[in-house]
């Protein structure tokens, strides 16, 4: 990765490098997420491409210094467009023995390890099962180790403030941030400004954190222990104005934008659940943009209220994760029967049951696809990166409004909390989502009646007639309706027709063809995935191609209905590999739908795929050794 070396002004070596992966690891209370976020913002402002992977426990504060309490934040930044948060860190910052123990196995030999020595007490070592202090034996010999007494140094720097030792030590994460900022030639002003704003109401704390941050920066500058610093030039991304964005933020913005583009009030009915709660938090801030948020008594009430709002002519949205989807299923079925627009945001997490609330998985595909009683088809859209959540939300709303149907958007923990640079779209380029409510009776028999289930010839969508419209009073419900007229019907033929009509409506939704990336044009192996695995699969393809092999990549944004050309695409490759963070749910759909011999490669570790691992799988596939 290192390309060039020079000598910097302080007489130290400055290495130019294309990309770096840094992992900050510490106790849940150490502020590692904030530290990582802050470094990310600096990298973004500098113009690097980046991708992040926050990884934290479900417990808010597990017992201090224990392995279950370790929280980490991995950041990959580069001078070119990157696809993943990186498989392994180049630099590991370990704030205590637990963080070291939990993360050291991921640091490649030769990697840089920066350790906060103050926490390496007998007691803390014993807590995580270290018999001997790894800083004192040769177990860390394969790494470039920097031992820094961060707490002590922070305390010293904050002495003039008169803060208690304990309070002062809490700023040690800013010391670490300062040191890393120095190592990677990042400015200090952005972070200092950030700290002043964050602690605007507590200027003492702002100053303390700034002092700690500067102390870390100066420590790098003045001590001899760091002989090398690194520069990562800005990345050459497509022209435009960029910002950093997480998937949940992009989802929330997508919902706000959809409401504006549809000229409809947005109503979010929801219940707090990890990792989707940030969507509620964010949307709650945007009441001024026509968004009403309702924190309901449970998941069912959340979606029920959203559906009620949709009946009244609002853009109804509900946000949740897998366990919440399970509770909402009956109401989703009702929405299918009512044929009203509804957006269901499922930020997937590890399952089954409570599973791994803070870890990622993409195992809700079949739940979204089939998790209802009766034949109840629902369109499914999956964003492939944090920023893509914005476009996916708009796309999902377009479908919901055009086809009067609930729509699933399947995000997951990795892209919900992960961040990347996002090219800010021009608002003028956003799609027009405006809708037309029914205002006139429509009965084909000229009776002057309103038939709520008379369908549009093209879309098969029924009219959206909202209360308050004179002459269109009608009753809808979960009982089977007579085709057209919409009254209760138990007629066998009618039911058969209605089941097929609902299916045909969803099957007929316009989705773009899937595109295949096959640079050499001679690939015999196609790798196809969906959702957040886009990054690791893409990075794996780059590696395979760099090794001189050919592999084609396709990625599905639309899971239901599937793109019209998908069958032909799948059949045109000798081998099809489907990596998924589940036990082969898409692979099953593809095999069942297209009778193709799709090979599943699966992992459900609560973490995204690693590019290296997938590259191995693809290489084997290209060379003829298919995954089991």
């Amino acid at each position: 990765m290192t390309t060039d070396t020079a000598v910097g002004p302080s007489g130290r070596e400055v290495r130019q490098t294309h990309r770096v992966v840094i992992r900050f690891a510490g106790d849940s209370g150490d502020g590692m997420q904030l530290t990582g976020d802050r470094f990310t913002s600096e990298a973004a402002a500098f113009g690097n491409d980046l991708a992040t992977l926050p990884n934290f426990p479900a417990e808010i504060r597990a017992p201090a210094g224990t392995l279950p309490g370790v929280s980490s934040f991995q950041l990959h930044f580069a001078d070119y467009d990157i696809l993943t948060p990186g498989d392994r860190p180049d630099v590991l910052v370990a704030m205590n023995p637990a963080a070291l123990k939990a993360n050291i196995k991921d640091l490649p030999h030769g990697g840089i390890l920066i350790v906060n020595t103050d926490e390496f007490t007998k007691r803390n070592l014993a807590k995580v099962g270290y018999d001997a202090n790894p800083l004192e034996d040769d177990s860390l010999a394969p790494y470039t180790v920097h031992q820094v007494a961060m707490a002590t140094l922070t305390r010293g720097a904050l002495e003039p403030t008169g803060m208690s030792k304990k309070d002062a030590e809490r700023a040690k994460n800013m010391f670490a941030l300062g040191l890393l900022s120095w190592m990677y030639h990042r400015g200090t002003e952005g972070t200092e400004q950030f700290l002043r704003e964050k602690f605007a109401k507590k200027p003492d704390l702002a100053e303390a954190n700034i002092l700690a941050f500067r102390a870390g920066w100066n420590y790098g500058e003045t001590t001899e222990s760091f002989a090398v610093t690194y520069e990562v030039a800005p990345a050459r991304l497509a022209e435009g104005t960029y910002r950093q964005i997480t998937g949940n933020l992009a989802l929330a913005y997508g919902v706000v934008a959809a409401g504006q583009q549809a000229k409809l009030p947005v109503f979010l009915g929801t219940y707090p659940i990890t990792p989707a709660s940030d969507v509620l938090h964010e949307l709650s801030k945007h009441k001024g943009m026509g968004v009403t948020t309702f924190q309901a008594e449970d998941e069912i009430a959340g979606i029920g209220a959203a559906l009620g709002a949709a009946f009244g002519g609002a853009l109804g949205v509900t946000s949740t994760s897998g366990p919440g989807v399970a509770l909402k299923s009956e109401t989703i079925g009702l929405a299918v029967a009512l044929e009203l627009p509804l957006l269901i945001l499922d930020v997937q997490r590890g399952g089954p049951s409570t599973g791994l609330p803070t870890k990622t998985e993409q195992a809700d595909l079949l739940q979204a696809m089939y998790g209802r009683n009766g034949e109840a088809p629902v369109p499914i859209i999956a964003p492939q990166s944090p920023g893509d959540c914005f476009d996916a939300a708009l796309d999902a709303v377009r479908m919901a409004l055009t086809y009067r149907t609930p729509v699933f958007l399947l995000s997951d923990g990795a892209i919900a909390n992960g961040s990347e640079p996002w090219r800010i779209p021009d608002v003028d380029d956003l799609p027009d989502l405006s809708v037309t409510f029914a205002t006139e009776p429509n009965a084909p028999d000229g009776s002057g009646e309103f038939w709520p289930y008379l369908r549009d010839d093209d879309t098969l969508a029924r009219p959206w007639a909202i209360p308050g419209t004179p002459g269109l009073e009608h009753r809808i419900g979960g009982l089977e309706k007579a085709d057209g007229r919409g009254t209760i019907s138990y007629d066998p033929d009618n039911h058969d027709r209605m089941v097929r009509l609902r299916q045909a409506k969803i099957a007929g939704i316009e989705v773009p063809d899937v595109t295949v990336d096959d640079p050499t044009g001679d690939a015999e192996v196609l790798v196809i995935g969906w959702g957040s695995s886009y990054g690791p699969i893409g990075a794996a393809c780059r590696r395979v191609r760099a090794a001189g092999l050919s592999v084609a990549q396709a990625h599905l944004r639309h899971l239901n209905p599937l793109p019209g050309n998908l069958g032909d695409v799948l059949r045109s490759y000798r081998r099809v590999v489907v990596p998924e963070m589940n036990l082969g749910q898409l692979a099953m759909l593809l095999r069942a739908t297209f009778l193709v011999d799709a090979h599943s490669y699966t992992k459900v570790a609560g973490l995204p795929f690693q590019a290296e691992e997938l590259a191995g799988v693809l290489t084997d596939a290209v060379k003829g050794d298919l995954p089991a």
Partner: protein
């Protein structure tokens, strides 16, 4: 940044606005027939639902609302077929969830009169959670709880209001769980309006409906209703026989609570701090408690709801409680309105939102780059 909540707390819509004040009215005279849909009513012969439907159809014209601005939402059960038979907007939703649907409607559409029709199983069993939270939030909706103390549509299992020992298909040896008292439950759930009426008492029911509709906030109306198939005659002691007058206590706001022939009986305070029934002649007229539906403290209303257990010895009907409290839906709209005003003053746009604070520009690559 100032917290929007701090100023809003004082700006919340204050009570004084009626339940239907934001719903458009019409000068066109209306009749019960106008509220009758073309659907054939399919309840069992003798079902109490017929009487309630007739009362509601007869009462709605009195409101003078535009018919298209009325919505009836129901759950699942016999009574939940109600919306099909009214020519208004309506939704027959899923079991227990009608209050949630009504909540979304009430919050987003202040111009609608939103009604929930539910039963003892729908509201108190599968939908118990939604009922108490709708009451707690004081959503501006009117809930008609048809209580026949049995599951009818599933053919005769005991319900959460069935008396202990009820022998049904699912409890051949008698039910063993204690029932809910819907009025007590509603009062415990911070309901601002609680009333009760008997299906066959058209006058009493209409009066409760009238006040429930006029009330801004969640109104719960329990309607004792007969299921002639699976729980026949369950409320007959309140309809016929010599002692009806001694069983039925009809509340009149501001009046002493007396009942029986010539007001022979009165409700008085008991030694335990609750209420009990006594002969007025024995205790004196001054000892009879006066009913105040508008009393903030729900203690007396609660005690009234406990005067008799499921045995209907002393059954209180009328309006137990009617107090003013800000509604959730008014509050939610006030926050959106205040935030919108602030956003407009600041010149907020979608473009500004998407840009956020920290951005950077990537310039086009130079054409002759080496």
């Amino acid at each position: 940044m100032t917290s929007p909540g701090s100023s809003l707390a004082q700006d919340l819509p204050t009570p004084g606005i009626g339940g239907l004040d934001l719903v458009p009215t019409t000068d066109e005279p209306q009749k019960a027939k106008d509220y009758t849909s073309d659907q054939e009513v399919r309840w069992c012969p003798g079902c109490g639902d017929y009487a309630v439907l007739a009362s509601v159809r007869g009462f709605l014209p009195e409101l003078g609302l535009k018919r298209e601005n009325i919505v009836f939402v129901s759950g699942i059960g016999c009574s939940s077929r109600f919306p099909y038979y009214l020519d208004t907007y309506g939704m027959h939703s899923i079991h227990g969830r009608a209050p949630t649907i009504a909540t979304g409607l009430a919050v987003t559409r202040p111009d609608l009169s939103v009604w929930v029709v539910t039963g003892d199983g729908d509201a108190l069993s599968i939908g118990g959670n939604h009922l108490i939270h709708a009451l707690r939030r004081n959503m501006n909706i009117t809930i008609l709880l048809f209580n026949n103390r049995i599951y009818g549509l599933t053919k005769g299992q005991y319900s959460p209001t069935s008396e202990v020992g009820k022998v049904t298909k699912s409890t051949p040896m008698g039910s063993i769980d204690a029932p809910f008292n819907p009025v007590s439950l509603a009062l415990g759930a911070e309901a601002t309006f609680v009333g009760r009426a008997l299906d066959s008492d058209r006058k009493g029911l209409t009066e409760v409906l009238r006040q429930a509709a006029a009330h801004r906030g969640a109104s719960l109306v329990e309607i004792f209703q007969d299921c002639p198939i699976f729980n026949d005659g369950s409320f007959d002691v309140l309809r016929k026989g010599d002692d009806v007058a001694e069983r039925l206590i009809t509340l009149v706001d501001g009046e002493p609570i007396t009942f029986g022939n010539d007001g022979e009986w009165g409700v008085v305070r008991s030694a335990s701090g609750g209420l009990e029934v006594a002969r007025v002649a024995d205790v004196g007229a001054d000892a009879v408690v006066v009913h105040h539906a508008g009393e903030e403290d729900p203690t007396q209303s609660f005690a009234l709801s406990r005067l008799s257990d499921q045995d209907l010895t002393h059954t209180v009907t009328g309006i137990f409680r009617k107090v003013d409290r800000p509604t959730y839906d008014d509050g939610a709209r006030a926050q959106v309105a205040a935030a919108t005003e602030e956003a407009e003053a600041r010149g907020d746009t979608l473009e500004k939102l998407l840009r956020g604070k920290d951005t950077w520009a990537v310039m086009p690559e130079p054409l002759n780059e080496q």
